[in-house]
Every structure is written in C-alpha cells, then in structure tokens.
C-alpha cells in the first residue's frame, strides 16, 4: 500500500462512527420481522405463529447520517434456553457486541410481553421499547400512556405499528438520541424483600470498592439470578470468600419469601408483580371490558371444535389441491403454446442443426416444462402463506397433537411438516421450534415425506396424463395425503427404533387470528415464485443442457447412415416417420445418458421403471424440477417428428404403463430430497452421518414401497 493510500484511510472511518447496531428482541409473534420490513425495504419472512424467524438475520439501512444494522433475533418468551431459537437469542444478547436493544412488544398483550422486557432491563444495555400493533390495540379499546410508561420504566417507549407503518420515524429518531446519550439506569424495582437483599450486596461491594464493569445494583441482581458471567468475574476476586455466604443467604431469603425452591420462579413472580403495577398505571380500557366473545374466540369455536375441527381442516386442504389443479390448469395451454411458438420461432433462426437442437429441444423444452407449472406453484404457495399468516397453523397443531402423539410426533411438528409442502429447506430450518433433539431429528427425517412444491409439477403431469380432468385434483390430494400418511408411519417406525425416549411437553401459544394484508401475501408468494422461476432459469436450465448433451452424444455415425438410407428408400411419409422415431430411440439408447440409464436399469426394472424413468429419477436428486425437464428432453427428442404427440403429457400416457407410473410417483414421494435440501438437512441434523442415515432410510423405503405399488397395481389388473 502506498503512503498516499494509507493517509486516505482515516477519512473513510467517520462512517463507522455513525454506525448503530441494534438487536431486535421480543417475544415470539409480536411482529419483529415485519417491523424491520417497514423500517427498511427488506422482505423478511413474516407469519402469524411463534417461530417464524429461527435464526438471526441482519438488515442494513441508512437514516439521515446514520448507518443502521438491525439484527432480527428469533422470538423468545424469557431468558431460558428451551429451544434452539431461544439459545440463539440469549447467546447473542449476552456475548455479542451491539449498541442498543429495541424491545418489540405487542400492545394488545402488554402484561405478558413485559415479562421479557423486565428481564432485559436487568441487563446493562441501552433499550428502546417499541409498542407495536398500537393500531390494533386502539381498535380493541386499549389505551396506553406511553409517556408515563417511559417515565416509570426509565426507558423510552414509542408507539408504532409495523403493519400500518406508523411511528417508525419517531422510533428511529429516538434510537439515534438514546445512542448519542449515556445509558440511564432503568427503574425496575423488586419487592421489598428482594430490594433489601440487593442493598446488602451493593453495600458490601461499595465497602470493598469492587472494580465492576457495570453498576453495583446490576452486579447484585446478576448474582441473585445466577448469571454465569458475573460469577466468573467476581469469583476470581479475593472478596468472593466473604461475598459468597452473603449471596447464598440472600438467595435463600428470596426463595423463602416466594415459597419456592426455584429461583427462576421467584424472579418470574417478582417481574410479574412489577409489570402488574406498570399496567395498572399506564393502560386504560376505553369501554368496560366487554364480556362478549372476541372474533378469535368465535372463529375458534368452529375451527377447533372437538368434532368438526379435523374434518374442516381436511376439507380446506382438499380444497387447496383442487384449486391447485383446476385453477392452475387454466393458463397451462397458453404457456405451453407460447413455448411451442417460441421454440419454433427461435429454431427457425438457427441454421446449425446441432445448436438448434440444443436450444429448442434442450433449453426451451426443458425450462418450458418447468415454467409450465408456475400457476400451480403460485396457488400452492398462496395456500401455505394463508395458513402461516392467519394463525390457523397453530390451531391445526392443537387439533393434531393427540393424533400426532400416537405416531411419536409432536403437535408442533405440524409446522415444519406443512412448510415442507412448500419447500423442504425452510421446513428443515423451522424444525428448530422443537426443543427436544430427538423430536427434532425425527421430524427432520420425515419432512421429505411431505411432497415439496418442486415435486408438484411431476404429480400434476402424471395426474393429468392418466386421469380425466374431473378427478385429477382428487388424485393430487390423494398423493399428498398418502405421502403424509407414509410419513406418519415412518415416524412411528423410527420412534420405536431409532428415536426412543420420553416425550417433549406440548405448550404452545395460539396467536390471534389476523387477516394478512394483500401486500404481505403478495411479497411472500412473489418471493417464493421468483425463486422457483430463478431456479428454472439458472440451475434447471444448466441441468437441462447437461441432460441434452448426455442424451445426444456420442453420435453414432454408422447408425445414422444406415437409417438415412432406409428413410430415403421409404415409400410413404408414414413409414419415414416410423423409421425416424426408431432412429431417435436407438440414438438415445447409445448416448451417454442411455448408457447411464441402461447401467442402472437392472436396479429399477423390478419397479417397472425403464431406463428413461431411471435417468429422470437420478437427475431429480439434483432438484426435483429436473425430473420434469429431463422427461421433457427425453420424450421430446424421441417424438419430435410426430407433431400429434408433441405435448409431454400425451407422450407420457402413451409411453409409460400405469403401474410403472405408480411406482415412479411413489419413488418421487419418498426418495432423497434435492441436493440443496440435503445440505440443509445435514446442517440442521448436526452431522454428515445423518445424511447417510437419511439416504439409506429414504432409498430403502422408496424401493420397497415402489416395488409393492407396482406389483399391487399390476395384480389389480391395470
């Protein structure tokens, strides 16, 4: 580095001086992610159930002269290490470097939310409280005096609404002010009994001039709450020998006072008492607390009814898959027509036969086959987004826990499992809401039984190829339900063998029903759809070209020559066509892909799968969409001459026997998730050995079930 450059560097630094790093903390489902989305222009995933955010995410944005980094932490009810998400948050708050905390609270349920707030107040950090959902609170007749609340807590409290985007500016402004000033001690006070003990310890520390890195009061509270870090520091000092008996006695007094042997319980009661006092001061209910039922209770009376609850859920799911098929089929002709036209148009401009085949038969027909299913995917994603954002998901977990429990699963397993219908990757991540490692692993293992969105195209294709339009939607529903049932049975088997042990308790918050805004729905669905299309344009396109190459090379000159001669001699057009098809078929068989397929064919033959289907399944390990594009390439090559059977659907119903199709679908339902999902699975499960377990487990199960499926279908006479 030259002298000149080195001199210039400090001038860049002032930017860092105005950098504010914020930790966003709050209980689950209070709208932390949505608040970030409103403050910046990020599109973090938002839902209406606890545990949407499972890992910390950083969002950067600028405001006036400041650069903000906001760390969105997973929601946590208290500083316990109950779930992985809670550990993530707790660890971050205690060990990482950040400037201040924004504590997001739900204004409509202040008392519960303040429980975490009071724990935060005992930390030696600058805090700003965001009273979120203030619009909703106002609607419910809850009035909060935020000025008085700021006064009483000693921390600024700002009314905001992430959904309506109000108060955001004020919040940021306050953050910059708090950042610029010295930290003020919060006004959190305990009961007399506890305050007395705190005073004793503070007096002792003062007397011995303990060299603390925060206030003596803070040290005392930390000692009383068994905070590891404080102990580590102070226990190395000489005063510790005298202090220790003092602390032991203090803790004993507090436990006695609260009639418990559990310090955490004692402090929870302390906080609760403090919060009740705050609430009594600052919250006013406009009208008399009405005894009539809230909207949520009215809806719950129907949706979680002991008798109708589960049938209603099943009906809604059935409806979703009907819509997916029926509505999704409407624009299909248009899209496939477009790609036919587009392929022909592009093809006519390319004179080189090889390049033309690459672009038209490889790229356009492969990618087109995947894009064709975008409408279906969108409908499925809308369904899942509604499930996530309305609050219905937790209700289903409530309804299904008893049933799930029989199969060794946890009611909350339902959440990752449903997410799995969209994509396995977020599903694996969301399994973190399960605290018990065994339950989590078990759930991880069966997530892939929930057919992901990428597998939908294959099902739509085959359902359409073998069934009339009237029943295809039902077939689709049946495939998904069968997958889920197989998953449950697999869970039972695993629970009885690999994951034996005690059951995790089921304690879960049931969020209020919320109607998602169109904007939120749009962003969620569009985000997912964009990813699907992006994948089609990049990864799938690449894979398609590879498949095309492998299926076209090496050229067998001999074969070509002998057929060219034959075709020339042929009398009728029809004869020519037949010969042409025969040539394509033979060429395909001697290609690299044909060789790979033929090599693995013996394995797949007992399942009734020919080498083409075997290749499609093998390609599907990369990504499930590739199955369709591979079939697209394989069957368009063989049939390109015959304009009548240009559509892949007809090609499939013509070339694949029904029993083989059944086996093929079963394999897809069960076998290894795609490459990217497998990586996430391995990470979440905690080791490469689990990947091999998953590989063995899914492959063996898929093979056995497909074998049974094939032979039973044959026996039934199809």
């Amino acid at each position: 580095m030259s002298q000149n450059e080195m001199n210039r560097q400090p001038k860049v630094c002032p930017i860092i001086a105005n950098h504010i790093k914020i930790a966003l903390v709050g209980q689950p489902n209070v709208g932390k992610s949505m608040l970030i989305n409103s403050v910046s222009n990020a599109h973090l995933h938002v839902g209406n159930f606890s545990g949407v955010t499972v890992d910390k995410t950083e969002v950067l944005f600028d405001y006036k002269d400041y650069h903000f980094t906001v760390v969105d932490l997973p929601g946590t009810y208290a500083f316990t290490d109950f779930t992985i998400e809670e550990k993530v948050t707790h660890k971050y708050l205690c060990n990482e470097d950040y400037d201040l905390i924004i504590n997001v609270v739900d204004s409509t349920n202040l008392e519960k939310n303040l429980q975490l707030t009071s724990e935060l107040l005992t930390m030696n950090k600058k805090i700003v409280i965001a009273l979120n959902m203030s619009d909703e609170a106002a609607k419910e007749g809850i009035e909060i005096d935020e000025k008085l609340m700021s006064e009483l807590l000693g921390v600024p409290c700002i009314k905001v609404s992430a959904a309506a985007k109000t108060g955001i500016e004020e919040l940021i402004e306050t953050v910059t002010q708090v950042y610029a000033h010295e930290r003020v001690e919060s006004k959190l006070i305990f009961s007399e009994a506890v305050e007395e003990e705190i005073e004793k310890i503070v007096a002792f520390l003062q007397k011995h001039h303990y060299d603390a890195n925060n206030s003596y009061r803070n040290v005392a509270i930390n000692l009383l709450q068994n905070k590891e870090k404080t102990y580590q520091r102070i226990s190395k000092k000489a005063i510790w020998t005298e202090l220790q008996p003092l602390v032991v006695e203090a803790i004993h007094h507090i436990e006695l006072h609260h009639n418990t042997d559990d310090l955490k319980e004692a402090f929870a009661e302390e906080y609760s008492a403090f919060n009740k006092g705050i609430i009594a001061e600052v919250v006013r209910y406009k009208e008399e607390k009405k005894e009539e039922k809230t909207v949520t209770e009215k809806i719950d009376n129907i949706l979680i009814h002991p008798l109708y609850g589960i049938p209603i859920f099943l009906f809604l799911m059935w409806g979703l898959f009907q819509l997916t098929f029926v509505l999704g089929a409407l624009p299909m002709d248009l899209i496939s027509g477009f790609f036919d036209w587009f392929g022909a148009a592009v093809g006519s401009t390319i004179s080189n036969e090889e390049v033309r085949s690459l672009v038209v038969d490889g790229l356009i027909s492969g990618v087109g086959a995947v894009i064709l299913f975008t409408p279906n995917i969108i409908i499925l994603f809308i369904g899942i987004a509604l499930l996530e954002t309305t609050g219905y998901m937790s209700r289903v977990a409530f309804l299904l826990d008893g049933f799930f429990h029989k199969f060794g699963l946890h009611g909350q397993s339902f959440i990752p499992l449903v997410t799995g219908f969209g994509c396995s990757i977020p599903a694996y991540m969301s399994a973190r809401i399960l605290k018990n490692d065994r339950d989590r692993l078990l759930t991880l293992f069966i997530i892939s039984f929930m057919s992901c969105g990428a597998r939908l195209p294959v099902y739509v294709l085959f359902a359409g190829a073998f069934f009339s339009e009237a029943v295809a939607g039902n077939v689709l529903f049946a495939i998904y339900i069968t997958g889920a049932v197989m998953g449950l049975i697999a869970a039972k088997v695993l629970k009885l063998t690999a994951f034996k042990g005690v059951d995790e308790p089921f304690v879960m918050e049931m969020p209020k029903y919320r109607f998602p805004t169109m904007r939120l729905l749009f962003h969620t669905v569009w985000g997912e759809t964009k990813m699907y299309l992006k994948k089609a344009g990049t990864f799938i396109a690449g894979a398609t070209v590879l498949i095309w190459f492998l299926s076209n090379y090496p050229h067998n000159v001999e074969l070509e020559k002998s057929y060219t001669a034959k075709i020339e001699q042929a009398q009728t057009k029809q004869e020519q066509n037949i010969l042409h098809n025969e040539l394509s078929k033979k060429e395909l068989e001697v290609s690299y892909l044909g060789k790979i397929g033929k090599f693995s064919e013996p394995v797949f033959l007992p399942l009734g799968l020919d080498w083409k289907m075997a290749v499609a399944l093998e390609a599907g390990i990369a990504a499930k969409e590739v199955i369709v594009s591979t079939l697209g390439v394989l069957y368009s090559l063989g049939d390109s001459v015959d304009a009548q059977s240009h559509s892949l659907k007809t090609a499939i119903s013509k070339n694949i026997p029904f029993a083989s199709a059944v086996a093929f679908i079963i394999v897809i339902m069960v076998y290894l998730p795609c490459f990217a999902a497998s990586i996430v699975f391995t990470r979440e499960a905690g080791g490469i050995k689990y990947f091999f377990y998953l590989l063995a487990f899914t492959s063996i199960t898929a093979y056995i079930l497909a074998f049974l499926g094939y032979h039973i279908t044959l026996l039934l006479g199809y």
Binding site: F82, A268, F398, D401, H405, P505, V507, M508, E509, P511
Partner: protein, 75 residues
Amino acid sequence: MKNLLNCHKGDKVKVTKINAEYNLKQRLISFGVMKGAEVEVLEHAPRKKTIEIKVGKMRIALRGEEAELIEVEAA
C-alpha cells in the same frame, strides 16, 4: 386435588402449584402460567388430548398430561 385437566370448559381458576419438572416449569412460567395466575379453560380437543387455556390475554395450547401437573383452585 383439583388440577387444570379436570376443570370444565369455561372454568376460571387460579394456579396454586406447578408440579412439572424444571424445563416444563420454566416454559409454563415464561408463558405466564405461574403461581397466582388466573386461568380460563377455553376448549378441549377430542378426548382431552390437548386443551386450550387463556392466561391474561394469551391463549395457550397444552397437552392433557401437562395440564394435570398444574394444581388450581376456584378463582
């Protein structure tokens, strides 16, 4: 002893003791289910496998086995 499981739908009761093991107890406490808290029983799933309760303004679902560990008295 009366516990949360043998309460009827619509009952409003007060928690007197939680007999759960450490982790579950912390969980319940962090949800606001602690000594002295007032709880309302909202709904039972089929065969009381799971029950829905209301603490303050928060609705919580828990299993029958866990509800059984929470001792209550009439509020």
